[in-house]
């Protein structure tokens, strides 16, 4: 039994030094030197050079002049330090109530069909994307609020639309933050939240 203690403890120390310190620190060093933008969270800079967010992480948008994202279960909504899905089962009553509330709000805005991503919360609560159908549904509202031509709004959405990769991997996506930054640049002003 004693003959096992030395290899067990020394090998753990060896692996902690190798895989727990040397490996992550070496990868961090190389990543920070060669790929600093990605290594630090793909930050998006505003006019004053201050970070506005990450290109990968969704933000809450409520102003009528912005493209809106999906419902979020991360903290109070899009809390990037508390990622979470709702974890509701398909028959949960609170889930049905939340979906109904989202759907009613969307119906008040337009009579168009409601895409499923518009009323469902993502797995992370930080989904940066919406479907092209949900983006199209918001074009008229944004155009009125901004005083822009709908065609111009559509062009900005098209610029931020990608996928599916290779034609079959994943789904088409619209990056909400990218569209909203383009909208602010086009009309020269930021929008205040609705509430």
């Amino acid at each position: 039994m004693l003959s096992l203690i030395r290899p067990a403890l020394v090998s753990m120390a060896f692996f902690i030094l190798l895989t727990g310190l040397a490996y992550p620190l070496a990868v961090t060093g190389i990543a920070q030197a060669a790929l600093p933008a990605q290594a630090n969270g793909s930050l998006v800079m505003g006019k004053a050079g201050k970070p506005l967010g990450s290109a990968l992480i969704g933000q809450a948008f409520t102003a009528p002049g912005y493209l809106h994202g999906r419902p979020s279960a991360a903290g109070a909504g899009y809390d990037a330090s508390a990622s979470s899905g709702s974890n509701y089962g398909p028959l949960n009553e609170d889930y049905a109530a939340r979906v109904k509330e989202s759907a009613d709000a969307l119906k008040a805005e337009s009579a168009a069909a409601i895409p499923v991503d518009a009323v469902t919360a993502s797995g992370s609560g930080l989904d940066p994307h919406i479907s092209p159908a949900y983006a199209e549904r918001q074009v008229a509202r944004i155009a009125v609020a901004r005083g822009l031509a709908p065609a111009k709004v559509r062009a900005m959405i098209a610029d931020a639309t990608q996928g599916p990769t290779l034609g079959f991997l994943g789904q088409p996506t619209v990056n909400v933050l990218a569209v909203n930054m383009a909208l602010d640049a086009a009309s020269g002003t930021a929008q205040l939240p609705a509430r």
Binding site: L4, R6, P7, A8, L9, M12, F14, F15, L18, T19, G20, L21, P24, T28, Q32, L35, Q38, N40, G41, K50, P51, L52, G53, L56, I57, Q59, A60, A80, S81, A82, S83, S84, G85, S86, N87, Y88, G89, P90, V99, K100, A103, I114, V116, T120, S122, G123, S124, L126, D127, P128, H129, I130, G163, P164, G170, Q171, L177, A190, L192, P193
Partner: protein, 563 residues
């Protein structure tokens, strides 16, 4: 449901299989000692450990070494988590963990389960993530592959006693396989957008003027070994659904391939080592057929099941998107779910607890089938070999001959040990679930009620005992009852399985290697593939169908009844 989804399922499985073949050839060279390009590092390591690399261990010695190493890993990790508040590299200033949470987490990572009762970004410091969890992501995977190597040597042996040396196997697998692949692909993940930073996070002011704190960690270095070692424990609460862990379809593809490729490679390495390549291909075929069927089944459930909540709200939904990311969608998420539950990985890129009942039910059943499709790294192979022994035993009963597998007679001792191993899973899953289902302090942790609540319980113990780690995450498991019992289930699922498997290896190694005769059941063709699939499904079905009938199956009919 459309052709793109089916194409994605077939493409992902095909790519994984194609890459596992050369990796298997290399893994065999690592197991046998042929690969030597890091010999100086190895020599220094063995000298420090006080290990003679040429001294073999019998099954008891090998098992004792596995247990001693795991016990040392548990003790160090437990201490590190308890003392987190006093240790350096804690830019977030997180305090130490409670005793039950530290027990659960340390057991979880040492057993290659990576069940997480906590939310990573609000609980664990950078040091705990790196020097605590990442280390176990490497060594628990290497321990599984070591046990598989020992079993492979037993099948190859002719009246021998030694199964190899655990310390050598462990060290070689980390040095030659896990670490080099992780370094390369961690950097690939960074290039594709996964952060790798030691900072506590970046506060930003959003477009609408709200404050948002972007939590940062050395994510990429843990992300790759999390998948490649079938660990599954995320840095963030949302795991691979979080855009920092899995920002796009390319990182997702890398993760899906990584979580199955090494388990399949172990099967091919086994075939080369035992000189039974065709038989190994048959085992791989069983794994791939069943994981493909599960992916298709989940995809169908997520796209075809009617959704009562949507119907009531007047939304015409073509797929269930609750808990799913737009960039992944139903097909990608379903494939990921089948891969992660088949592989004892446990990472998720969508929330299984929000799947439609049959989608979540298939994911749960994949775990209950014993984590052999293709299972955890190493553990999938030895689990599948236990099933193969049972399959030849059943076939032997039908034709009235002493069964043989790969030139080894399968006799009473091996079958008893195999049953001992196989019965651990229902004991831990159904036993604990039965108690939890009537215990008020356990039921407090449930988010959903009715059949879905039972599914949350069943899934939790299946995940723990199967060493998977994914969850129906409506369950709040950070309480003494859940932390303790799930910890015990994880220990049983890992070590009460490994010890009988090594005992089987010891018994098989001592037997003479027989040449096949005309009376030997062929174990390399479609007949055996069919037989093995049948044994796996019947065994799993008999054990778990009654429980599943009260959970996902009855919930499915409830969903259909809402009109």
């Amino acid at each position: 449901m459309d052709w793109r989804g089916w194409a994605e399922i077939v493409f992902t499985i095909g790519l994984t299989l194609a890459l596992s073949w050369p990796l298997g050839a290399y893994l065999k060279r690592v197991w046998t000692g042929e690969a030597q390009w890091l010999a100086p590092v190895e020599r220094a390591a063995y000298a420090a450990f006080g290990v003679n690399r040429d001294k073999g261990q019998n099954w008891l010695g090998y098992a004792a070494a596995v247990l001693a190493f795991s016990a040392a890993g548990f003790t160090i990790l437990y201490a590190m988590l308890r003392l987190q508040g006093l240790l350096p590299l804690n830019p977030q200033g997180f305090p130490g963990l409670t005793s039950d949470l530290a027990f659960n987490t340390a057991v979880s990572f040492v057993t290659n389960t990576n069940w997480q009762s906590y939310a990573g970004e609000t609980t664990l410091s950078t040091l705990s993530q790196m020097a605590g969890l990442t280390v176990q992501n490497f060594v628990s995977a290497a321990a599984g592959l070591s046990v598989a190597a020992a079993l492979a040597r037993a099948f190859a042996a002719d009246k021998a006693e030694g199964l190899g040396n655990f310390w050598v196997d462990l060290t070689r697998i980390v040095l030659y396989v896990l670490l080099p692949v992780s370094v390369v692909f961690a950097l690939v993940l960074v290039a594709l957008g996964v952060p790798q930073s030691l900072s506590a996070g970046t506060p930003v002011t959003t477009l609408e003027g709200a404050q948002q704190t972007l939590a940062l960690f050395p994510v990429a270095s843990q992300e790759i070994i999390k998948q490649f070692g079938t660990n599954g424990g995320g840095i963030f609460n949302a795991n691979s659904a979080h855009p920092f862990e899995n920002p796009n379809i390319w990182t997702n593809l890398i993760q899906m391939v990584a979580m199955n490729v090494l388990s399949l490679a172990a099967v091919f390495a086994f075939g080369r080592m035992v000189l039974a390549r065709k038989e190994a291909r048959a085992l791989a075929a069983v794994m791939v057929i069943l994981v493909g069927a599960a992916a298709g089944g989940i995809y169908a459930a997520e796209t075809l099941t009617p959704q009562p909540a949507m119907a009531a709200a007047g939304v015409d939904a073509t797929a269930n998107m609750e808990g799913k990311e737009v960039r992944f969608g139903p097909a990608t998420t379903s494939t990921f779910a089948a891969f992660t539950t088949g592989a004892s990985d446990g990472a998720v890129n969508g929330m299984h607890g929000s799947f439609m009942p049959l989608g979540g039910g298939i994911a749960m059943f994949m775990i209950q089938l014993g984590e052999i499709l293709p299972g955890g790294v190493g553990s999938g192979l030895y689990g599948m070999l236990v099933m193969a022994l049972l399959a030849v035993f059943v076939a032997g009963l039908m034709v009235g001959r002493t069964p043989e597998y790969l030139g080894k007679k399968v006799e009473a001792r091996e079958i008893k040990l195999a049953m001992l191993a196989v019965l651990i899973l229902p004991l831990a899953i159904l036993g604990f679930s039965a108690v939890a289902a009537v215990l008020p302090s356990a039921l407090k942790g449930l988010l959903n009620t009715g059949p879905h609540g039972l599914s949350e319980i069943l899934y939790a113990y299946s995940s723990a005992a199967g060493n998977n780690g994914s969850a129906f995450a409506g369950l709040t498991a950070n309480s003494p009852w859940w932390n303790t019992t799930l910890g015990i289930a994880m220990l049983l699922g890992r070590f009460a399985y490994i010890v009988p498997v090594l005992a089987i290896a010891g018994a098989l190694a001592a037997k003479p290697k027989l040449a096949p005769t005309t009376g030997t059941l062929p174990t390399d063709g479609p007949l055996f593939v069919g037989l093995l699939i049948g044994i796996i499904l019947i065994l799993g079905g008999l054990q778990f169908f009654p429980a599943l009938a009260l959970g996902p199956i009855v919930e499915h009919f409830q969903v259909l009844a809402v009109r």
